[in-house]
Point group: C2
Chain length 412, copies 2
């Protein structure tokens, strides 16, 4: 069986990057930059004051203190957004607001707290300080590389892009992902549930996972456990970039998904259908209609875990993202874990902080049909293939999948 | 001056929880549950097989092994989604698929790998195992509390809600947040920039911060540094639940924002206007038009940091979220930090993992006008008010504001 990394590599080989599109800055949050951002301007655009105060000639103010105040004639007030009209000459000063351009002649600022206005003059109690001047181009200069291609746009990047005057941003397109659940036992939420049915949860969970990683889900509904219904339902995936099918990939009599990879895969076929992970051994990947297609397990926990490990990174690669994988930290395991050798285990778990250290504990029953193991989980404990027992107190690797609650957090 | 916690407490006092609304499950991702979710059903709904295999009577199979195989007559095949028609009696078995209901009479499963079909019979090489039966109600029972009020809906919760058959979900409404930038020097992205102007970045950054925490931004544009323009622009905030104003809260001649709190605050007024943090000392909070209103600093870094510390938690309180604060971890500081005593510092920083431990380093120039300190930053280092020097190698508290890149991560 393939390791998770071997499977990821085989998947990445089939992923082409999406094209780029321009979006308004106000819609760019969460998208991935498709080109590097180079500054088209100097910032600040002019020398300006970092303080409310007075613009002066430093040599004019030497020796000024509360004990030995000096006086200067105020020739102008410069608000932010105004252009100074007058040049500072010895014996004069201009009142200046934070961010306002430095007037000609001035080479220092005295902050307002160190001054006292007296009619047309100002008494100063400190020497002028050149450090209170923000220099043109101090933050960035025309031609500087500001943001790298592949960066995910957070609010901070939105502000930076706005400060560059960019109202439209080039980002990678969002991949369209068709999602099909299979199984005669499945009932959709809008239908009355028969006595022998369960609700289709995989379609909804996978749609949300696709949205969260930046994709656009295309729901294809539920296919019955027949070859013909499966193929009919998949016809609707023609617009999609990728296809997810859950269920029907195991060794049962009604597991037709594997056959679809060869039957309809013009120029396609199956890359693999088993992977050394738990939950999730029956995970198929290949091409259907020439499109990268995952045959995910039908058990709801297995479907979501295999998405996180083998679909999510691929959708991020398609979007050109620099970061493809879930963040990993080390934590102290709070209880013994036993497993069989051979597969890597992804155990739903609660990661919390105690005494400044990460601790992690499984969230109860790990049966792959039991979605409730996700309720308190904000992490996967990752136990390597070869391990059969990990003792409480060991350091283990943990992937983060949710917020670390402040209840267990440190107060700042 | 108030501490950050004292300011947060004064703010929380003015925040009323938003009302609830029903949304389709497919739109529920990221929203906050406004009621607890109790199961309306047993899951699984019936005893069923956890394996593809054969349903048998355990006592019928005693002693079966590869050395001593036994034979049973196969009376039925039960796919998932079907109701078993026949009762298992001694000497018989039914072929059964994963998830299919257990037939009457059966009390154990033999997995397919331990069997071999021979005509109408099956040869079995293992004893039937009751552990391969998933019992009715094993995952959840009618009446069980499944999800708490205040939980943020992740993809995992979406799947759980679907498995309960819930197509509509009650969530807290998204707060509407009016956003106004002030300053004669500001130019909007859609306007030609004058030689004495800089682009308005605060409105865009704050809009994105509001969206990311679940709010709906209402952009009010830019107000000039006059009392009348400020008040005119604020009239458009009548639909909003909250108001953010950036700039105009300091001690300059054109800082009118503080006056607005008293002037237009019918039943309102200013709760505070200074806070012991850096960046961000000039942070005002109070009521304008009876609505909770923040006067954020005009410097772009200060505006975003004070949002993260004093607005974000309030918007989460308004949405009834259990988690209000940024996650905090401890990390080893990689360089010396010096500061003045008196204010708590929030230093933009890069948090990474080395040798299984968190390390953190400031991202260069920390000037509050320099947004580029956010580019590589995924964290704030929090240095307490009283500290003046923190040495490299010390453990410091760190708030997480971005993904921890896998480049520095551990391979799982």
């Amino acid at each position: 069986m393939l390791s998770v990394e071997e499977a990821q590599e085989k998947i990445f080989l089939q992923i082409s990057p999406m094209g780029a599109e321009k979006v308004p800055l106000s819609s760019a949050l969460g998208r991935i930059l498709s080109e590097e951002i180079v500054s088209s301007l100097d910032h600040p655009p002019w020398d300006n004051s970092a303080m409310d105060g007075y613009a002066v000639i430093a040599s004019d103010t030497r020796g000024a203190s509360h004990a030995t105040p000096l006086r200067l004639t105020v020739i102008e007030t410069i608000p932010a957004g105004a252009l100074p009209q007058k040049k500072i000459i010895p014996g004069t000063a201009s009142k200046i607001m934070t961010g306002a351009p430095l007037p000609a002649g001035a080479d220092a600022i005295i902050k307002a707290e160190d001054t006292h206005p007296i009619g047309q003059e100002v008494e100063i109690y400190a020497e002028g300080d050149a450090d209170f001047i923000r220099r043109r181009g101090e933050v960035m200069q025309k031609g500087n590389l500001i943001l790298k291609k592949g960066v995910r746009i957070r609010p901070y990047e939105v502000a930076i892009l706005a400060s560059l005057g960019l109202s439209e941003i080039a980002v990678f397109k969002r991949p369209q992902v068709a999602i099909l659940s299979t199984g005669n036992e499945l009932c959709d939420l809008c239908e009355p549930k028969g006595p022998h049915q369960i609700y289709n949860s995989n379609s909804y969970g996978l749609m949300a996972q696709v949205v969260e990683v930046g994709g656009i889900p295309i729901p294809l509904g539920i296919a019955k456990d027949t070859r013909s219904d499966l193929i009919t339902k998949l016809e609707a995936a023609s617009e999609a970039d990728f296809i997810l099918i859950s269920g029907g990939v195991s060794v049962g009599d009604y597991d037709f998904v594997k056959e679809v990879f060869s039957e309809k895969g013009k120029g396609g076929g199956m890359a693999f259908w088993r992977i050394a992970m738990k939950p999730g051994k029956p995970l198929a990947f290949g091409l259907v209609f020439g499109k990268p297609t995952w045959g995910l397990p039908g058990n709801p926990v297995s479907a979501m875990v295999t998405f996180d490990q083998c679909v999510r990174p691929a959708l991020l690669v398609a979007q050109g993202a620099l970061n493809r994988f879930l963040p990993v930290v080390q934590a102290e395991l709070m209880e013994n874990i036993q497993k069989e050798a051979g597969r890597r285990h992804y155990i739903r778990a609660r990661l919390y902080i105690q005494g400044g250290r990460y601790c992690v504990a499984p969230t109860g029953d790990q049966d792959s049909a039991n979605l409730l193991s996700f309720v308190e989980a904000n992490a996967y404990i990752v136990i390597p293939e070869g391990e059969v027992q990990v003792k409480a107190g060991s350091q283990v690797n943990v992937q983060i999948i949710g917020a670390i609650g402040q209840d267990q957090g440190l107060s700042p």
